[in-house]
């Protein structure tokens, strides 16, 4: 009996896709960097089916590629070109199992779309704070597997920080489960934290117990024109000094990105500030009733006096707030509309963001003259999407040929600055060699030992994060 027939006997034909037409959308990543082949796309309906599939694949030595909303930036959910791997889509495990407003916890299955998780929390009067551009299609299982970041990390942390426990299937089909939502539980090693961010290479997350927070009752939002990039760091310090953890969002947008957005995104509205090289989107929230507009205005007025802030607009309505957010959230789409781009998802200590911009810009000018820098993102966390767009009319092939040298220069720069070449997007397939280059040999050895311990046959997302010894040069 061939493998597909055996898989069909295991899971049922209704839970498998084989045809080119049915499987196509599972075989190419969001950025279209990779297109693979697969033995099958499996869509189990419950945890026992996931367990049965993994046990069978482990016995047969068949690679399994877990996939959520397939919105990742690093090819972590795409099978290789061999056609021997099984894509394991979690999309049918899409139930919110429970929401407990008193305990401030929710148990959600891996296939729940992030917006669905946010909505279930809101229906219970709570907040699930993870928020990112793809929230309408990414799945919480993928957010967990990649330890997703987003626009509220400053206040609430990364996905790992929002996770109280997991249910996951290990390589041999055994299930580990810790969904009780305890706030304190020191019983052995932190398997939850280890699985979060392991990109499906140590286990397949099937559900999570997530932390909820009280919904803010007060909110203020401003679009701010800055003196320069350094002003972003100074203003953030002032905001946090005055408002502490009420500062939820601090996103940096360069003028060039605002221009792209206004040009390419029909719904985008110019906030009408005096032009500046850099803008900041700031949001401040509080659980209690508070006049946050007044608090935010005070900080901005003081910053304006010191020359840090050139101009600022406070959102006076929910609609205006959405307008400000659209300017930030539309940058990736505007970049796509504007043509090819080279992307770097990097972080440095927050205070060094301006230095990163300055020194990185010099590399762009030298190494990618066909491009222009569009560095934007989560300045409050020290994380910039240090992207470079092709200049209009420039030669596309020449521009693309710059990728490798520019990547090396930018990644070397952040390494020298104590930063990271992968702040929030993960390693996937795209950055395996970068990890080998920049991680210390002792750390790589420890990671490889853990990988081998939990997945001795190497069936879990092969070639992602870490390569097997035989694949390394």
């Amino acid at each position: 009996m061939d493998l597909r027939a055996r898989l069909t006997r295991l899971l049922g034909a209704e839970n498998l896709k084989f045809s080119a037409e049915d499987t196509a959308r599972y075989l190419t990543d969001h950025r279209r960097l990779y297109t693979g082949k697969a033995l099958a796309v499996a869509m189990p309906r419950d945890v026992p089916q996931v367990s049965a599939l993994l046990a069978w694949c482990n016995d047969a030595g068949i690679g399994v590629v877990p996939q959520g909303g397939n919105t990742g930036y690093c090819g972590g959910a795409t099978p290789d070109e061999s056609g021997t791997q099984v894509v394991l889509s979690l999309e049918r495990l899409a139930r919110i199992r429970s929401v407990d407003a008193d305990a401030q916890t929710m148990v959600a299955e891996a296939g729940c779309v992030l917006a669905q998780v946010q909505g279930a929390a809101a229906s219970a009067g709570c907040l699930f704070p993870l928020s990112l551009g793809s929230e309408g299609s990414c799945q919480i299982g993928g957010n967990l597997a990649t330890n997703a970041g987003g626009t509220a990390v400053l206040r609430y942390g990364m996905t790992r920080d929002l996770t109280l426990g997991l249910e996951a299937v290990l390589a041999d089909g055994s299930v580990v489960s810790n969904l009780s939502g305890l706030r304190k539980d020191n019983t052995g090693y932190d398997l939850t934290g280890l699985l979060v961010g392991s990109e499906g290479t140590l286990g397949v997350i099937t559900a999570a117990c997530l932390k909820l927070y009280p919904q803010p009752r007060s909110r203020a939002c401003a679009w701010i024109a800055l003196r320069d990039a350094r002003a972003a760091v100074e203003l953030l310090a002032g905001l946090r000094g005055a408002l502490g953890d009420r500062v939820t969002t601090c996103e940096l947008v360069p003028h060039v990105a605002l221009e792209l957005v206004l040009r390419h995104i029909p719904e985008a509205r110019d906030p009408g500030l005096s032009p500046a090289a850099w803008y900041l989107l700031v949001e401040v929230t509080a659980v209690e009733e508070a006049d946050l507009d007044a608090s935010l205005e005070r900080v901005l007025a003081a910053a304006a006096e010191r020359g840090i802030v050139l101009d600022a607009a406070l959102a006076r309505s929910e609609r205006q707030r959405e307008d400000f957010w659209r300017l930030r959230e539309s940058v990736p789409e505007a970049q796509r509309a504007a043509g090819g781009s080279l992307k770097h998802d990097v972080s440095v200590p927050v205070a060094r963001v301006p230095e990163l911009i300055e020194r990185g810009a010099a590399h762009v000018a030298t190494l990618a003259p066909e491009g222009f820098l569009v560095a934007y993102g989560h300045a409050g966390d020290g994380n910039l999407h240090f992207n470079v767009n092709q200049r209009p009319g420039a030669d596309a092939a020449a521009f693309r040929s710059r990728e490798s040298a520019l990547k090396r220069a930018i990644h070397d720069l952040v390494a020298e600055m104590g930063g990271s070449f992968s702040a929030e997007h993960g390693i996937g397939r795209l950055k395996v060699e970068e990890l080998e280059r920049y991680a210390a040999p002792s750390e790589l050895a420890a990671m490889r030992a853990i990988k081998h311990a939990l997945d001795p046959r190497g069936i879990l997302n092969p070639g992602k994060v870490l390569r097997a010894a035989r694949e390394r040069p």
Copy 2:
């Protein structure tokens, strides 16, 4: 050459203790449950010495028992009785390497006393929020190794949540280091989170990059007489609904504990409330200037109207605040002064704390008639120290003989309630069999695989957290 001579050649005589007199205090745990023997107590002065020691012990197959302030409750830092293990004291690695108020980070070596870490943060105008009874003598390395909890977990999380990165020496002497303080760094597996809470069984933590927070400018503190234990949960919900994360501390103290404290602690001052079976110590803080007394009073007044709160006193001075805190912090000392006790460090979902108290009390009455319940602690996190003190005049041997049956009943109860038999104190040596009993076989297998992967010769804190296969029955 014998082992001690070889050790002396490796580290120098000035960094080793051999004599019974010099080593005694390293060989007995804080609770005097265990007294071991040691080949030597090693006190390395720097990371290369720690590395050299581990590499040598790994080659020689010699067990290493890392030790911090030796204040643990589970015997995790005590060597066994064989006399073949080396105690590795981190006390000479006691330097604050850096404090960065702008980045809100600090790099502290493992041997820094927690109070020293708190003080270094305060000197820079920041807060390091980890706070626990033994903060004057416990060391941050031990806090990290045990993922310590304490009285501010409600607001700031456990030690793992306060850790941005580690420097640690692995079993083979290799060093992993991630002290750059990045807020976002998705480059491979979370070795930091894995090492935190692993109690020295996966690596020896030598330094950590810790998260700092802005120092609160406003604070309110109250000692509250409750209708009953259930009222604690209701009041906490009200407090968090009104004040969100400004609620920093929510500690439950039964009347019987207050009585013990007033009887045995000379400095203790009766807050003078109408007597109640249960009291709550609540503290609320804010970064900004705010009238938190008024906010707290509003919530308490509303709770009093609903009959949840019987009486309450707000601290009107720093001295009165310290008085309230002393009542809570002195419970362990008062318990010790009152005689023998049986301890359980358990957690349940917060809403089930009253049920735990009720059902647990019934077990105490039945299974330990020579004792009385003193259940107190971190109600806001669902974590109670479910302790039982010997009644005055009761037979001590009879009381002690109840330990095993009572432990089984309490731990079975919390397991049935979705709770944990080890909330914040860890496993150490004391709870190895409990972990084997209550953890799922799949989780134990995963933990053992990780242990074997990172410490294949089993030299790191042997017999703690997990037993080697040959030691299991």
